[in-house]
């Protein structure tokens, strides 16, 4: 019997890539897709690397559909309904429509693997990139997967073909026609594709659904008729028309945007969709029970309990830098990483977060709109990994267009939030090979910036002095605060912090940065949890009364 294994959706996608004969993979670590690349590493047959991702590369995306591919190309995009860790609820099915790229969407781990392989076949057959769209729930759920052997790819010889590969207007105009025909052909063929599946049951009620939403339909309506769509762009029109004609009541059940519903309605087919269900967040089986079955589920209201948002770890170098910014009442244009957590109390330093690299551009734009004096109490903060991903372009733009802002690069020697991936300045590739480590200091210097500083993230006096000077100056300046992520192997402070209540004046200065290892006692003194404390000494530095000491761990 074929080997079976419980696999995360992302792990199954990696396995699918292996079995499909993929040779090259490129991705940036980002929840909820990170584990795909991390799992690709185990397959020696695949070259896999960290590099900027599809959203950043949307410029080539719109033209890749014109050029097409020889040999197969699948773009995996993981959407995040419910926004567990994203900045928006992008529905990539719409990007597929806009860029005229076909989109395939699986519903569980087994399908994640199988559909990836199928997408690869489609890509070769129709000479187009294919988007495999997943969502957080699928990416981070585990289910049984049957493993198969790898199919070794046949090398497709390169042929010079400027009519197809050089997209200047005369060529692109002709290619646009090819793209349109390709989508029409696929739509016509879609009725026979196994990834579009009719499960005929009780004809009183029929569902058209895709992705994880299919599982909720099966949970509540195991007897209903279901058209499960695997190719969500272009839609299998004929299949949908036939299915709609067979059922009395037709409901489209799709998370986020009404991508299927609007098209189905545009064909004159009567169906229900967003009249019943929201465009926001994740769907559920209970949603179907309430909206379709009109059941009163009698669910007790949730207890009103204190929120427990994620926080920076004890010993995190970001907390130290933020304690200085907070003290100086400086606003920060923020970026994407653990350090985004500096937006909320008690640090309350970050004012804006948009996307990777946005911190530096936001500061630049603010200066141009409001003048250089307006940003004298502003900085941009960005992590080392994010800086190398997209921040570096924005910094060049600041220099070129004569900005005067101050950029703080929070260099913790890793990509922290997604679980410690390497990047261009760590000296290691995704495959674990040694490589040249880009020196951020010299890179910044080479842009012509004179005011560049490297400061230990826990050196509070030096940080305070430098930040004060640089925000006041009329030149671009970069402050690189250095201290490895406290969760990195090898990053060990030798001591731990211990309070001395007899010296404590109960001023609360140590508590202000919100280290989770510290708690306030009933009498106003503090306790430090010896298991949680990493011994960074930030609280000790903030105490004016020497009421915290260090002891060997």
């Amino acid at each position: 019997m074929a080997e079976q294994k419980i696999m995360l959706g992302n792990e199954a996608i990696a396995r699918g890539a292996y079995e499909a004969g993929v040779k090259v993979s490129s991705a940036y670590p980002g929840t909820p897709s990170t584990e795909i690349s991390e799992n690709l590493v185990q397959y020696d047959e695949i070259y896999a690397e960290w590099a900027p991702n599809v959203n950043v590369a949307s410029d080539p995306l719109y033209t890749m559909s014109y050029i097409g591919v020889k040999g197969g190309m699948v773009l995996v995009v993981a959407d995040d309904p419910g926004m567990y860790s994203s900045q928006n609820e992008q529905d990539t099915r719409m990007i597929g429509r806009a860029s005229m790229i076909p989109v395939v969407e699986p519903s569980d781990s087994q399908e994640a693997k199988d559909y990836f392989k199928y997408a690869f076949d489609l890509s070769e057959k129709y000479d187009t990139p294919i988007i495999l769209r997943t969502t957080t729930r699928l990416a981070h759920s585990q289910g049984m997967v049957t493993l198969e052997e790898r199919v070794e790819p046949v090398d497709v010889p390169y042929e010079r073909d400027i009519a197809k590969h050089v997209m200047m207007p005369a060529m692109a105009i002709k290619r646009h026609l090819v793209v349109e025909k390709r989508l029409n052909d696929m739509a016509a063929d879609a009725a026979d594709m196994p990834i579009n599946r009719v499960e005929m049951g009780d004809k009183k009620l029929g569902f058209i659904t895709c992705g994880i939403a299919y599982q909720y339909v099966k949970e509540v309506f195991p007897e209903a008729s279901v058209l499960k769509i695997g190719l969500v762009n272009p839609l299998p029109k004929k299949l949908i028309e036939d299915f709609a004609a067979k059922v009395d009541r037709l409901i489209v059940f799709e998370e986020l945007e009404p991508v299927i519903e609007e098209q189905v309605k545009s064909w004159g087919i009567k169906c229900e969709g967003k009249e019943l269900f929201t465009r926001q967040g994740e769907y559920s089986a209970n949603m179907l029970r309430e909206k379709v079955l009109k059941q009163d589920l009698g669910i007790e209201p949730a207890e009103q309990v204190p929120a427990r948002p994620p926080i920076l770890c004890p010993g995190c170098p970001h907390r130290s830098v933020y304690s200085v910014l907070n003290k100086l009442k400086i606003h920060a244009a923020g970026d994407i990483g653990c350090y985004t957590l500096g937006a909320v109390a008690p640090l309350s330093v970050i004012d804006t977060t948009i996307c990777m690299g946005s911190s530096i551009s936001s500061l630049h734009g603010m200066e141009k709109a409001k003048g250089k004096d307006y940003i004298k109490n502003w900085v941009a903060v960005i992590g080392d990994s994010t800086f190398l991903h997209t921040g570096v372009n924005s910094l060049m733009n600041m220099v070129y267009n004569k900005s005067t802002g101050t950029v703080i690069i929070l260099d913790n020697s890793t990509t922290g939030m997604t679980g410690h991936q390497d990047h261009a300045a760590t000296g290691k590739t995704l495959k674990g090979e040694a490589t040249y480590a880009i020196d951020i200091y010299n890179l910044v210097k080479a842009m012509g910036i004179d005011h560049v500083y490297e400061i230990n993230a826990f050196d509070l006096p030096e940080l305070e002095k430098t930040i004060k000077e640089e925000v006041a100056s009329d030149e671009v300046s970069v402050i690189i605060t250095k201290s490895p992520c406290v969760l990195l192997k090898g990053q060990v402070f030798p001591d731990k912090c211990v309070p001395m209540p007899e010296k404590c004046k109960k001023c609360g200065a140590c508590l202000r940065p919100g280290c989770p290892a510290l708690t306030k006692n009933a009498d106003g003194t503090i306790s430090i949890d010896a298991n949680m404390c990493n011994g960074c000494g930030l609280c000790m530095q903030l105490c004016k009364f020497d009421a915290i000491k260090k002891e060997a761990k």
Binding site: Y84, R137, Q142, Y216, E219, P306, R308, P310, I311, L341
Partner: protein, 191 residues
């Protein structure tokens, strides 16, 4: 058999992910279809974490919804209260009697509720486990989650031997002896 719905909740870093994987592996080795849903990324940084494990003949959705959990395993008592409404009226709560203040309490924006254990007991069948103390006595404070799992094990249909085998094959090799001891200690607790 009907699908069994288990929720494991706690604070990021307490081992909810590992525990859900132990349980998933066990159910799978016993021949059930298993689906597990996890939380990765930002929420793990000391935030409230929830994982779902569902097993049975055939499992469709990977999550456990409000009012559907047969067993709620909570590594921290405020988290047990947060997810209490997910538990069936005749479901059971296994709660580690430990308090961890969220940042909202530390900074004074909110107050840690009093009498959580009493509230849990009033509303659902609840087993309170002093897992930290038990794990401390064994000399392996970090195995507190396996103590809780041991206490929860009796409320699921698997044989004890199968549990021990799965714990043995899932935890890091160096920690096998202590974790088996932790499991036994939890399993021995009276309801």
């Amino acid at each position: 058999m009907a699908t069994t719905n288990i929720m494991i909740v706690g604070v990021g870093g307490q081992g909810t992910l590992l525990t859900s994987r132990i349980l998933g592996r066990l159910a799978s080795s016993e021949g059930y279809e298993v689906k597990i849903s996890e939380v990765h990324g930002m929420s793990q940084r000391g935030g409230s974490v929830v994982t779902y494990v569902r097993y049975g003949e055939k499992v469709a959705e990977p999550i456990v919804e409000e009012g559907q959990a047969d067993v709620l395993i909570a590594f921290e008592k405020l988290e047990a209260l947060r997810y209490l409404h997910f538990v069936k009226k005749d479901g059971v709560v296994i709660v580690n009697d430990t308090r961890m203040d969220p940042i909202t309490v530390v900074t004074g924006q909110a107050t840690y509720p009093e009498g959580i254990i009493d509230t849990l007991k009033e509303r659902r069948k609840t087993l309170v486990v002093d897992a930290s103390e038990i794990a401390g006595k064994i000399g392996s404070p970090r195995s507190f989650n396996v103590v809780v799992l041991g206490a929860a094990a009796k409320h699921m249909s698997f044989k004890k031997e199968a549990w021990l085998k799965t714990v043995e094959s899932t935890v890091p090799p160096k920690t096998v002896a202590k974790n088996l001891e932790a499991f036994e200690a939890g399993y021995a607790l009276e309801d």
